[in-house]
Symmetry: C2
Subunit: 469 residues, 2 copies
């Protein structure tokens, strides 16, 4: 009996060991074999990935490259060691961006909106998009337009959530950034009522592109005439007058309003910065021609996507013809991506992104004000607090740019003084203003901003008679 | 001893059973638990997907929508039943595109290059691309340009593989399709040597956009003067002459050459169709200014991506300024996608895609020729066979468009006759030619082409005195 019992146990034990081997090998091969089992935390109901897995893996491999927090690797970057290399922030170098370049100038020059990059890294899952090889190959959408109706709906919904524009009863057009739309608008508004060349004006200081575009593209139809103040009592000119109104203004953050009014005055409202990141939203814009861009909303300057709301049908048709003959509309790849980004924002009514943007900008302004508070040499623009219907409070503006004034009599060229202290920015004359002013960009990467503050601190602490804390 | 041996076996058996339970539960929970284990056949070395899985699942869900082979669902399409709805080919309808609309006209109008859509569906895995939420938010690449160096390298490599352009010692620029680059080229070449307005010319029949763009954008700097033949003996005009040379030509497929030569003649070579899909490649283009577009190479018209090779530095700089002030370069999203598509092509030296394109176009031309061979009423353009250095043989051209002539004396308006027979196309006068001609597009979807043949068969079989097979 004992013998027989022993044999049964031996048999059971053998079976059990075989079963163990089976399970063990199964798990091992499943995880490490020719194919791989992958864990996914997504909640989308899908049986398993087939054709998109490789692209996903490539993107994650690029994103996983360690760049010391001072850079990032992109899928289409130069390749090093078999995968995309780190692309470092200004003033950082080395294969993993860990090398600080001490003699490098702080970059506060262009309006690269990288202050929002961390937001998108935090929302990696909801903001990623897969473009299939056969995605929208046609020239047109199925309604024969160049505009995605889904994207249009999202844009109108966003403005209604934020309360920064009334979009009812207005036509919409998409452009390659606000850049192309500004160009289309000037072209459409020239010769609208008159066969004489139009005159374009913008209050000083103004964004240089207005003048550069008008002079480069429309010299025969429209001449750039500088400040509208000169035209205030002379609106009965032969040609039309086109006024650019930028609110908040680039470079100084003021909520500009139109100076000129009258039957032959047409206004282009550039609302690139009219988002809660930068300003209170006292009331929704409700203008004849208003231009927005994704660049200063989500931070995707590189995507080249903007949109315009237009009240008048003739102006809309003329702008539409411009956009069709110029580029046949905006890339469908870009429209797909803009849609995905907007969906992330709209999901919570913009709460997260605007909180992130406002908080980041507030912190930066606090640090900047604190740094310059010790200075007698440099001052910052003053902008009155605004009621913000979005945040439901009165708030300090946190503009994208500091408009710095050099106060000393002898400091006639402010940007030269900043450059000498290893700070890059833009001199006042670029904005048609006095060179006693300079624009410093506050919307770039954290690294750029940190270095800007550090260079300003050195500059201020070296002042004769700097205030003592 | 037996007793003791039995106890040891019992203990071992118990341990083994526990181990079995552990392995079993582990496998079961791993496959069916809160998350999901997914099998991937890709060979990219990656531990597992995290943030990109959801986007991948969304894209696959849209792509999996059944549209009866007569449509497809896109990720950014209108939503039905919780996921993107089918967008049907012309003449098909219903929620799954299974409904043929019998009274619908065959669409042979625009140059939508959907004949290549099946190629990309066959290469779904290698052509998909994941765009991360933080992908290239900057205005510029790390070298401060608006152009991806990786993409530039791929384009130069492709031309060297195909043998259709010499790119050494030439500048390259990217545009939103060839559309924007044509525009930039006219602007750059006007007033290059002379302060007088330039004249633009193109051999009849020519692509209507040349004239439309020149008249819309450059009326003050450049006037469109039609056929260059009138100017052949009058090149000593006061202003410059800009000749558009399209080879193969749109609409008739001829390998046009420049008509005008001389110190004040500038030539824009539009090489949109200079790919083995459509023509033999007798020799590489080696011209001062040559424009290509991805639209007629990969079929991605909707991506709006083109490129130009430019020999002269001044012309390059002027075009570059145009592109910067017009749109600040081409969307980085588009450049990323173009890169992925080009990688698929380059991997085998273009063999697969050009074989696919050439075969498709050859089949379509065979069917079209056969259909019209029974007709006395309609004739097709004749193009001499060309040596193709790419396929290493002499081959019949397979142009993108049929240039149909109505032969009957009374059929003065060919497109009207085609329209009456439920065929959409473009009349000759759109190309500044006689309306006795009409252009029929042969590069659209299989459905469009099949219906075109069917409508033509009906038309031809109804002819008085049609030839009998």
């Amino acid at each position: 009996m004992a013998r027989s019992e022993g044999s049964i146990f031996k048999l059971c034990f053998l079976c059990s060991v075989i079963a163990n081997l089976f399970f063990g090998v199964n798990l091992y091969v499943g995880r490490r074999g020719v194919g791989r089992w992958k864990w996914s935390s997504d909640e989308v109901n899908v049986q398993g990935l087939s054709w998109s897995g490789r692209a996903a893996a490539e993107a994650e491999s690029a994103a996983a490259r360690e760049c010391s927090g001072h850079g990032r690797a992109f899928l289409d970057g130069a390749v090093a060691d078999g995968r995309p290399a780190c692309e470092c922030n200004t003033c950082y170098g080395g294969p993993d961006c860990s090398l600080f370049l001490p003699s490098c100038s702080a970059n506060a020059d262009g309006g690269d909106p990288l202050f929002l990059e961390p937001f998108w890294k935090q929302h990696a899952e909801s903001s990623a998009v897969v473009v299939a090889g056969w995605h929208r190959m046609s020239y047109s959408f199925s309604d024969q337009t160049f505009l995605s109706q889904e994207l249009e709906s999202l844009l109108r919904k966003l403005h209604s959530q934020v309360g920064n524009a009334i979009t009812d009863d207005k036509y919409i057009l998409f452009g390659a950034g606000s850049t192309q739309l500004l160009n289309a608008a000037v072209h459409a508004l020239s010769h609208l009522n008159s066969s004489f060349p139009a005159s374009a004006v913008a209050s000083i200081p103004y964004y240089a592109l207005y003048q550069m575009q008008t002079e480069f593209f429309d010299s025969a139809d429209c001449s750039f005439q500088g400040d509208p103040a000169h035209w205030k009592n002379a609106t009965n000119t032969t040609g039309d007058i086109i006024e650019f109104v930028t609110a908040p203004n680039n470079p100084n953050g003021q909520l500009n309003e139109a100076i000129l009014h009258g039957p032959n005055v047409k206004t282009i409202h550039d609302r690139a910065y009219y988002w809660p990141h930068f300003t209170g939203i006292p009331s929704p814009a409700d203008e004849d021609l208003t231009i927005f861009t994704i660049s200063k909303l989500t931070g995707h300057a590189g995507s080249r996507f903007g949109w315009a709301f237009i009240r008048n049908e003739e102006v809309y048709q003329r702008m539409n013809t411009f956009l069709q003959l110029n580029t046949m509309g905006v890339s469908r790849d870009t429209q797909l991506r803009a849609m995905k980004l907007l969906k992330v924002i709209i999901e919570d009514g913009g709460r997260e992104i605007f909180k992130f943007g406002y908080k980041t900008m507030t912190k930066r302004w606090d640090r900047l004000r604190k740094t310059l508070s010790m200075s007698n040499r440099f001052s910052l623009q003053k902008i009155a607090p605004e009621n913000c219907t979005y945040f439901q409070k009165v708030r300090e503006p946190t503009p994208a740019y500091a408009w710095v004034k050099c106060e000393r009599e002898e400091d006639r060229n402010c940007i030269e003084i900043l450059n000498a202290a290893k700070i890059l920015g833009r001199g006042g004359s670029i904005f048609h203003d006095d060179d006693r002013y300079a624009r410093l960009s506050l919307i770039r990467s954290n690294d750029d901003f940190d270095l800007l503050i550090s260079r300003l601190e050195s500059l201020v602490s070296g002042e004769d008679g700097a205030k003592i804390m």
